[in-house]
Symmetry: C2
Amino acid sequence: MALPRLLQLLPRALRPQARPGCGRALHRAASALVPAAPDFNSFVARTNTCGELRSAHVGQEVTLYGWIQYQRQDLFLVLRDFQGLTQIIIPQDEKMPTGDIEVKVETAEILNSCKKLPFEIKDFIKKSEALRMQYRYLDLRSFQLQYNLRLRSQVVMKMREYLCNLHGFVDVETPTLFKRTPGGAKEFLVPSREAGKFYTLPQSPQQFKQLLMVGGLDRYFQVARCYRDEGSRPDRQPEFTQVDIEMSFVDQAGIQKLIEGLLQYSWPEERGSITTPFPSMTYEAALADYGTDKPDTRFGMKIVDISDFLRRSDIPFVQNALSYPHGTVKAICIPQGARYFKNKDLESLKVSAKSQFNQEIVEIICRPDGSLKSLLTKFLGEEQQSELIQVLNMQEDDVVLLAAGEHKQVCSALGSLRLESADLLEAAGLVLRDPRTFHFLWVVDFPLFLPKEENPTELESAHHPFTAPHPSDTSLLYSDPTKVRSQHYDLVLNGNEVGGGSIRIHSAEQQRFVLEKVLKEDSEVLSHLLEALEFGAPPHGGVALGLDRLISLIVDAPSIRDVIAFPKSFRGRDLMGNAPDFVTPEELEPYHIQVSWPLAEKEAKKN
Amino acid sequence: MALPRLLQLLPRALRPQARPGCGRALHRAASALVPAAPDFNSFVARTNTCGELRSAHVGQEVTLYGWIQYQRQDLFLVLRDFQGLTQIIIPQDEKMPTGDIEVKVETAEILNSCKKLPFEIKDFIKKSEALRMQYRYLDLRSFQLQYNLRLRSQVVMKMREYLCNLHGFVDVETPTLFKRTPGGAKEFLVPSREAGKFYTLPQSPQQFKQLLMVGGLDRYFQVARCYRDEGSRPDRQPEFTQVDIEMSFVDQAGIQKLIEGLLQYSWPEERGSITTPFPSMTYEAALADYGTDKPDTRFGMKIVDISDFLRRSDIPFVQNALSYPHGTVKAICIPQGARYFKNKDLESLKVSAKSQFNQEIVEIICRPDGSLKSLLTKFLGEEQQSELIQVLNMQEDDVVLLAAGEHKQVCSALGSLRLESADLLEAAGLVLRDPRTFHFLWVVDFPLFLPKEENPTELESAHHPFTAPHPSDTSLLYSDPTKVRSQHYDLVLNGNEVGGGSIRIHSAEQQRFVLEKVLKEDSEVLSHLLEALEFGAPPHGGVALGLDRLISLIVDAPSIRDVIAFPKSFRGRDLMGNAPDFVTPEELEPYHIQVSWPLAEKEAKKN
């Protein structure tokens, strides 16, 4: 590291670095997102950052701080900081470097030395994920991570301006040391000094935000740290951040308008603009058309129902499927599939549907001459075949994947194949999903309850037990709860869930009915919330945005780890600091706990 | 709760509530602290809040939401929300209420009913701390708590604007699931799914903020949740918030200027303005003059050293004290003490010095006739007595408390008596410390190391092991570490520590020397930090402000619990949700821990 003082500066001093986009984008980001450019040189002796010197500065005396990126024969060096690179010429007594402009270092001070780095700080250098994690503080020097973290900070700042300054929301911090919620199996425990008693780290501030509404706060938000112990799941983090919002006297349309305004206001200019209002789709339509509750609407290949068309055919497996309740035949048409798919691709799609959804798939290929190639053709007359081509809107070289069976299973399988097919087409060079195009979508009208997977005669909340029923379905709550739609809404971006929320139950009587009669849960553990609803709780609702996921989509990062300063590995470990770690039995004593060693380890310890 | 729609409004509709100051102050706060007044009515059907209607609104149709504060004979009611109260007249068919202006409710909807409240939502109603905690969501409806939380939100928002928008700081979230730090005996543990391995909840982001500087982030801040398990200590919370800041290439003066600018920018206008730069005092001077490292400089009564004066006397206990190294005789003069102190007060002060500091105190009272009353007078001639009056600047009715002994003990005892005396004088009606006067003070030049209390031949860090030595004392580090001053600085407000920070060690070699040679600690657990320092760590420093304490001083709250939405009791319990709580052995299983029940409870469980 060096502190050079330059009397004059070479206008060529700013060299493009390996991936110049990042350095420049960063600069644009800073000026686009904040009202006036912040002063990076306040409180320190620096006069300029390494990214901002231009011809206009020629002749000025400047003070720079940074890391030596490159050095040659004590003649010149390249200095790097968070904003860019600057070339420094060290004057030689004998020989002056030629050039248009004279440049002279007046003083330079080495502030610290540096061991050989485990990897160079250059974006094109490939390094292993484990090495990046172990030396995270070096990886943070990369332009890409600097860009991601700075953009994240600026987006959140804009969100706060929108909520706090423009719309009167109050930033309230809620506790993270709380108690177990019913069904909170994924909550971390924190032993207390009272024997046998534990705090838990909550998965969200759900209870607190509702209590704040009962407390008359009217409009609450928090950039909240949340915790979820999911063991090893790819691209999940044991701690994550949500932009948590709750309002009183609001309906679903009000919350949706708020979120649309929030995202539009805080959207980084350099990532284009977004259009509001966002389109809306019912859960039922999302499942039928895209086979998922988080459709990626950037491309077509929607699911087509051909039950009515094939009902007239004599295909045995089709007739069999249609004879059951909820029996259906559906298909997706993959444009140019026959041209872009490799031989093994079709096979792998069918294997995937079988293994993930226990769903058989029949393919239909449209030959270059317009004729169909399929197991099915022998069951279909020529007229029926051309009708099928019309119904599915098939072109030459298209591939159709067809599935017969129960509605939800068929939709889910085809929805999954739709995405896998898109991956395959893109791997073959077709661009279907531009990562710089942002398709927001509200998914609404979810069912309020779902049958429990392990025991389908019992019901569980589709989202959480505080979700209010759809106003049109309130009476069904008492007669046929499985038919009740909820006032839950999900926000989907490019096929990823980036937020969700609901209007909440504000009647103590209705909340008690849901907990005790529908969900058959012990409401005792929520007695404080039920009691609060009895003390004049206002109608209220809210939403939570998954900040890590949202930012990773905005910057097109492959993982949420790329927008978190110090992420954990997918096993929940911190590879830099080596957490979690062993502690001594003495350290456990004040908490009245001891380790129950698994038998194998116990034996190993003995020997 | 009711939703009245009014066609016309009574201009007298806004009634002063029990403590009108809060409602009005709140309103002023909102307009003073944010650039433009936020829109509280966006996204909902409300046209106005209950605090803003004025004569100018007469004739307008408005929609209000709120809680019924008061109701009489279905004739009128008072509606309350977070901004104030509005009087609503319900028109009667037969008889119209008289008045200057006609007011008519068009529609009113009861949105929820309300059980009898455990206490009324009126600020003058006294309620027990336990009841307030149990029904925190009701207590939150009080104007005082609404005011405190809203002001807190606005102050933090201004701090963010200053740091992020004006000075280029990056808001970075750091992990709260980490690993034990050396000496981190007060860190909560979080069991992981790996047998015997635990995360800890860090007391501050200290390591991460330094690693961010090594990572070239240059300027970091975070409103950080921190954790400290201190068992039962009054007015401490197991989780608390600090405004955490770190900068590269900065010195102590730079950080101090930053904090002064930050506080000046974010200071709520209605609390007056603050003057910068803040005065500065060395630790040594603070101890000598005020007997503490956090002097309350709003009033005098400073400690006066009278060793030189009394060295000439023949007072045995004075001569004895002065014969020891660091022996000293000091005193404080309490103006008008003889008039304001009750009989028992002087005695209680002496008992307190004896029990807390094992320090004998001798009093000297200046009689109305100017003569002295004290055990000491018999040892002092008339001339000496009048010299003593001069040295101590005594007036009639003043009381002097005198102590002889070891320097630090004498100073600490007198510093404590100075504050206790101020409490007594104020209880008697004198105003010494105006809570609306804000005296900031930097305390600097702390010792870097202190002798361990349990073993004075060993040293421990006065603050933490990453604090850099004072530049003038660097060489002493290797010869006489006890003499080294540090680059630590504390920010004191009205006698309370509200912040602290330091320039950090950025040389790996110096950091290793401090850990291994001076502190004799195992540096293995900090190997990642030491390694990071070897990879070109920039000079850096930072500060952390205790947000809860700072806000509580700004709003003059008796406890930090009054500026936290859901605080814990002083035993670390949440009385509303009943946390911490028991969990089942099955819930402990995935974490490989079991409870070690204390013997007594084990027996009780058996029976």
